[in-house]
Amino acid sequence: MKRYYVMGLFSNFEEAFSTISEIRQHAIPGVTVDDVTLKSPIEHPEIEEILGDRGSPVPKFSLFGAIFGAIFGFLFLASAQANFLTQPQGGKAIITLPSNIVLSYEMLILFGVLSTVIGFMINARLMTKRHPLYSEKVSLDQVGVMLELDEKNVDSLKELFKKHKVLEIREEVSQ
């Protein structure tokens, strides 16, 4: 089944948001706000109020990475120390807690950061191909509202866009 992608470029957030508000109020039957992808040069601070809270699991990655880093760090260090033969030094114990705490802390942060970055890459779908409807103007100063919808709704959407002073409409059909 063919899917239609339509994107309207607006000159500012207000116009884009009023368009989305209408979509939210079912201006076009069968098209919900969940179908909307907003493309913008910056993140609007109140974007949740328009698009709804879509959530982000990135902090969970951070938590997992940090916990893993700390535990792995400590065990790694302790096992290395326990099996490394020239460790009796300065009257210190073989497995020294002060140093291991310091290093585990560093490992906590390192793995936390790495895991966060991986979480971001996955969740933000980075390192994928850009959408065909990507417009360079989005990185300049325009706000894009893109919807994925059936053929029957394309025209009414374009009408809606035009109502809100859209500057440009692009569309794409995927097989």
């Binding site: 790694f76 096992s79 326990a82 099996n83 490394f84 033969l85 020239t86």
Partner: protein, 734 residues
Amino acid sequence: MSGSDINRRDFLKFMGLGGVGAATLSGCDMPTTITLEEGKEKVVAYLAPEEYAIPGIGVTFASTCKQCPSGCGVHGRVREGRVLKLEGNPDALNGKGLCQMGQASLQGHYNPDRITQPMARKGGALEPVTWEEAWKLMKEKASGAAQGRSAWFTGTVSGHQSVLLSALNKAWGSKDHYVYEAINNAVGEAVNKSVLGDAAPAYRLDKAKVVLSFGADFLGTWVSPVHFSREYSKFRTGDRGVLIQVEPKMTLTGGNADLWVAARPGTEGVVALGVANVLLSKNQVDGKQLPQAALDVISQYGVDKVTEISGVPGDTLVRIAKYLNERSPSLVLSGESAHGHANGYQNAMAAMMLNVLLGNVGETIEASNSMAFDELKAKHGNSKAMLDFAAAADAGKYDVVFFTGANPVYTAPDHLAMAEKVAKVPFKVALSMFPDETTMAADLVLPLSSPYEEWGTSVSPYQPTDAAISMSQPLMKPLSAETKSLGDILLSMLKYQGIKDYEGFDDYYAYLRSELDGLPGSVKAGKDGDEFWSAAVQRGVIKVPTKAGSLKVNLGDVSPGGHQSGGDYPMHLIPSSNQTMYDGRNANLPWLQEAPDQITKIFWDSWVEMHPKAAAKLGVKEGDFVRVESDQGAVEAQVYIYKGVHVNAVAIPVGRGHEEYGRYAKGNGVNPLKILSSIVDGKSGELATHATRVRISKVGRSEELPRLGGSEVQVGRRLVNTVSADVFKRTEGA
């Protein structure tokens, strides 16, 4: 390692979790012992320290150190045909100890600047020649020397070398054998001889409870330092003795004194008289031991007068007298800095007077155990020999002179013009290991083997307890095929002169074997030739019977000589000898060059010691160069300032400032002996080394002093704490 028996798979499982990679930790089980004998083969961890290197097995051979005249016995550790390390020979006088010069004598043996083949002067320069050519030259120039027109100039010699030397001189019809040591106790020996009838009596430091030493650096350079150090150790334990040192510049012994007293140079005798005066007047010591003449002289030296002359405060004199009076027996010694004056003999005599007064003769000064074989005894050097030689050479007395074991061209003061006088001798032969100044002035240089490459016997000049012949044996094959031992050369020369007695010996070794074979049965303790020989070589010493000595007391005139003012030269020059460079012979040993001086901690260079007050007056600080000028010349060196030198004196160490003598010695520092004034001790004729007056001026240059260490005080850290002798006696006293 205990308790960690992880295996590879478990480890990989664990490590795999972290995705780190693959390896095993178990490969480095540290072996606690690895010995080849057991045939154990274990992986030696990369992190094994030296402990796990398998040491080779060394073999120890006994020999004798020739680095100074004391002649300490050594044990050389030999591995793979190389001698690696020297230790003291417990059977010898020095015991298991050895001083730094002895330790470093190995570097003389292995010195890169050793002469490895004969050299002859051709057209002004010394050039290598073969032994054949050398012998030919000897034949041409030396063998034909007329009766009495040849001489030997040597350092201290003893044992069979001495025998051969005498024989050789006899063959040449010459009586002239100059035995020279720049650092000697000749004045003291003269006084001993005159008063006690024994030039080198035994000083029983270990028995003494008070030692009053007038400049005798018995821990550093005086007579037999290692032996005295051992005695000192006994002296300091149990009922600990007091050491009082009176001298113008702190020697190593002074550095260990309980009371270090700086007397104006040359007034040591006056101080001794002052002490005697206090003892007699204040402490009610019975003066009947002393002849009336001496008592008369003493009575003239009241405390105030002594203080005026010597600069030693009255209460210090009283304190010294108190120690001497309260603790008995005592021992009074005199050394270099007291002897090296125009009145050196009187100074030594005054010190001896104290010994007589305090009844030390027979108590702490015992008759030496003179050995029965006079011909083997050490011919101990003095500096009069050099003065005599200079006069004789100047007078053109000799056609040929042989030098060995002494370096007069370096040690002689400029006023002697030794180089020119030596040059007047038509043919000079140097038998030498090193290209020192005298050797380089010779016409023919014969390369000597090192003391650790040759056979030999020697007898220590100072034999306090047992008389013994020290054995030298090669600790390794000669480094150079061309060098010959002094004994071999002497023997060859004797054969060359056609002396029949020596024709039967192939070499010096054969001669020695036969000579030792000929020792009386009492020495050999019933052993036959081979057995005795190997026992002697193994032990390193042969104990020999002694002639029982006895001491008489015949005190001479104790009145101190006059004390003249310096005029234009207000300061006294102390050319101090120390255990690093000694008389300059050690300047080619890098270990000793790099070893900091015991007192000042300066290395690789000469310095001028000054008292803070004198330095302040002159306006110099540590590291500034000053010019020290006598009527004979001047030297320049950096200043080291401390309170261990008399206010009116500057001290410059002897032994550096070589013009030759190899890469380590050449061009390092200055030679203070060069600027000595021509003053001799009136009685003994010895060179008055400490009598030179100098003036000091700023040069204006400054440089960091080559000195080890930063702070000279502990800044309150108590790294070395000092407790009083009373406390020591309470806790550890005998």
